[in-house]
């Protein structure tokens, strides 16, 4: 289940790695009325993957990743409202805008570590939030940006209100992102990121330009987050200020840690479990679902460090031991 990369790890795709895709496709046919939730889950998986790259592999703890998600979302939204609703150009715009912001802010914040870095990410997100809140003529401010239309994908597939096109669109984009992230994780660059996370000091002593490498990783991660944001904009045809809120960053981090970080598929399992649980609890106990989510987090920390995939690993390991 582990995808730690490195020079001995086998990069070939294992049979079980097709399971998520099989499930996702199955959902399309079996649960057509759940597709809007499904699209959201797929989008958040991309977002979580981008965080996994810097948090799970690079060891950077951030509460500000929504800055990039939101930038991507607004870039795609503003583009659609002012220039063109062509979806692929929108995705590209979101990715580039967020990547650029990631590069600039990364150059600044990655000079620090620990609490200072955490607070800088938080402050930058809050600043972006205020900018979007104030630039009402561009962003719609607290009311959000809506009223734009997204053209059919490749001129062929129109976004329908049941969310079928959106779901497939998200799935295809996620697949591409997954493939890229997976390549990156198994590459020498991914290995060196793991090195930075595991031991920053030793990485310096091994002659690695740690700062520059983190900036690059951060930029890639920000670009991916922007891609996810642009995807959200296009599938919901609306951008709300919430995409820039630090609450979203917190929620994202919770999802990733819940799934298990630094292992690619934690970013799949976490958002799925969190959002489905939230969806379910919010319907059963709309006033109190927060309690259930909170209790789940506390229990995970108390009894299941390493997240859900960590538990599964432990169970498998135990089974193997009792067999032998």
């Amino acid at each position: 289940m582990n995808h730690t990369g490195g020079y001995v790890a086998d990069p070939r795709i294992r049979a079980i790695e097709w399971l998520p895709w099989a499930i996702a496709l199955l959902c399309y046919f079996v649960a057509p009325t759940y597709l809007p939730l499904g699209s959201y889950v797929l989008t958040m998986i991309i977002f979580a993957l981008s965080l996994d790259l810097i948090l799970g592999y690079g060891g950077i703890i951030t509460l500000g990743h929504s800055a990039y998600f939101g930038t991507g979302a607004y870039a795609a939204g503003i583009l659609a409202a002012r220039l063109t609703g062509e979806p692929l150009i929108g995705l590209l715009a979101g990715t580039l805008a967020a990547g650029l912001l990631g590069l600039i802010t990364g150059l600044i914040i990655l000079r620090t570590r620990g609490l200072a870095l955490l607070m800088l990410t938080l402050a930058i997100t809050s600043l972006c939030f205020e900018v979007a809140n104030k630039a009402t003529s561009w962003t719609g401010g607290a009311d959000g940006l809506g009223g734009f239309t997204i053209q059919p994908i490749l001129g062929l597939f129109k976004f329908d209100f049941l969310g079928k096109t959106a779901y497939v669109y998200c799935l295809v984009v996620l697949f591409a992102c997954w493939w890229l992230v997976r390549r990156l994780v198994y590459s020498p660059f991914g290995a060196s990121l793991t090195g930075v996370r595991e031991n920053n000091v030793r990485m310096h002593a091994a002659g690695a330009p740690v700062y520059r490498r983190l900036v690059i990783a951060y930029t890639i991660s920000a670009a991916l987050a922007g891609l996810a944001g642009a995807l959200l904009t296009q599938t919901t045809q609306f951008v709300g200020l919430k995409v820039l809120g630090f609450e979203l960053s917190g929620e994202l981090m919770v999802m990733l840690i819940l799934g298990g970080f630094g292992r690619i598929y934690g970013a799949f399992v976490g958002p799925l479990v969190f959002l489905v649980a939230q969806d379910y609890l919010a319907k059963q106990f709309p006033e109190y679902w927060y309690f259930g989510i909170g209790a789940m987090l506390v229990l995970v920390v108390m009894f299941a460090r390493g997240g859900i995939l960590g538990i599964i690993d432990a169970i498998i390991a135990r089974l193997r031991r009792t067999q032998s």
Partner: protein, 396 residues
């Protein structure tokens, strides 16, 4: 064996048909806010819907039942609201959508209702231009122009210099714009204006700024809830009243559910609004009594409870008229011609042209009645008033 199967199928089919005939169930999707910072407002809508449904189940034609499906949009969170609406339409197959505290959420849902042909009744979201997004949208709540514009005209007769302090989001901007237009048209002067961020907690600096500008009156708008209270407290803390500055606003700043929490700071505040729990119309007295019986003697229903109540009343009307077999276009016809002379807020009707609410606007003052603070209605500033903004901005 074959015989058995086919007779079983026939029996099942029969049961299904007769079941349909026996119980016509109309599903109503209700989106409101149960968690997050906006849950106080969502709670008001929830109480209104549930109270109406509990007391009026008998008012449906025989065999027709209503099944409400409640969903939590977690606040001003348009993409979540849109997703919930998609689900309610696709999975739950609801025939009505209602609820919705927040304007952005309603604006994000509205296009769907046009596509899916599901009538959507706003029980609160007041953004003035939403009805133009979808022909299946109608509103029973209010617009800020309805209260702030007449307030501006009235205020200009009493005061010459006004300062506006509003929350920095579109309802705030609409309130500011409407009041300023009304006030200026009637000869008043705006000496300053401030827009307070939605995240602000301490309002004293803003009030200090107003105090130093020495206007005769402050026009305030905050969304109902803690911001309204905090701003009013700041007004009282700095004793602006003694400095000769009057505090006025739309009814959002002295909502009935929140009024007791504001304390004596609120005494003497004058507002214009469509609903007060203290109004002595008999329909309102019965409504308030039912509310207190259900939720506790200490609680008063705010205008959002009435919004939810009237939304449900209108939906029930449409269900009754169609005997439970809902056709969206027929429903919209019924809604456009809807009139209710006996809402707790007085007579209301839907403007068939704009699908927006027409209602009375009352000038009120906060006074102590029987030891409790109350919005006492002084006079009716407009009867069955249309939304002024749509009158000024008619589509060409």
């Amino acid at each position: 064996m074959r015989l058995k199967t086919s007779s079983l199928l026939a029996a099942l089919a029969l049961a299904a048909i007769s079941g349909l005939a026996a119980a016509q169930t109309v599903k109503i999707g209700i989106i409101t806010t149960y968690s997050g910072p906006g849950s106080a407002q969502g709670d008001q809508l929830d109480k209104g819907f549930k109270l109406y449904l509990k007391l009026n189940a008998g008012k449906l034609p025989p065999g027709v039942k209503v099944e409400p499906v409640f969903r939590d949009d977690t606040g001003a969170n348009a993409d979540a609201a849109k997703r919930l609406a998609q689900e309610l339409i696709a999975r739950e197959k609801v025939q009505f959508l209602t609820g919705v505290v927040w304007t952005p959420n309603a604006a994000a849902i509205a296009p769907l209702t046009a596509e899916a042909k599901v009538p959507f009744v706003s029980a609160n979201a007041a953004g003035v231009s939403i009805p133009r997004i979808s022909p299946y949208f109608a509103r029973v709540s209010f617009t800020l122009w309805q209260s702030a514009y007449p307030l501006g005209q009235w205020a200009a007769k009493k005061f010459k210099r006004a300062y506006t302090v509003v929350s920095d989001f579109s309802p705030g901007h609409e309130a500011e714009e409407a009041f300023t237009k009304g006030f200026k048209e009637a000869g008043g002067e705006i000496v300053g204006s401030a827009r307070v961020p939605m995240t602000a907690t301490d309002f004293v600096p803003y009030m200090q700024r107003v105090k130093d500008a020495k206007p005769e009156v402050i026009f305030a708008f905050n969304p109902a809830g803690k911001q309204a209270t905090a701003q009013m407290k700041a007004y009282a803390d700095l004793d602006l009243n003694k400095a000769g500055i009057k505090y006025i606003g739309t009814g959002d700043i002295t909502t009935d559910e929140e009024l007791q929490n504001m304390g004596d700071a609120a005494l003497g505040v004058m507002t214009v609004h469509h609903y007060s729990a203290a109004a002595d119309r008999s329909a309102n007295k019965a409504f308030v009594a039912a509310y207190k019986k259900e939720y506790g003697e200490k609680l008063n229903p705010g205008f959002m409870v009435v919004g939810a109540w009237d939304a449900m009343e209108m939906i029930f009307h449409a269900i009754r008229e169609q005997n439970g077999k809902i056709d969206p276009d027929r429903t919209m016809q019924l809604i456009k011609n809807y009139k209710n002379p006996n809402s707790p807020r007085g007579p209301i009707q839907i403007d068939p042209e704009t699908r927006d609410i027409m209602q009375n606007e009352y000038l009120r003052e906060v006074r102590k009645v029987g030891g409790q603070l109350a919005n006492v209605e002084l006079e009716t500033l407009g009867t069955l008033l249309k939304d002024p903004w749509k009158e000024f901005n008619k589509p060409k």
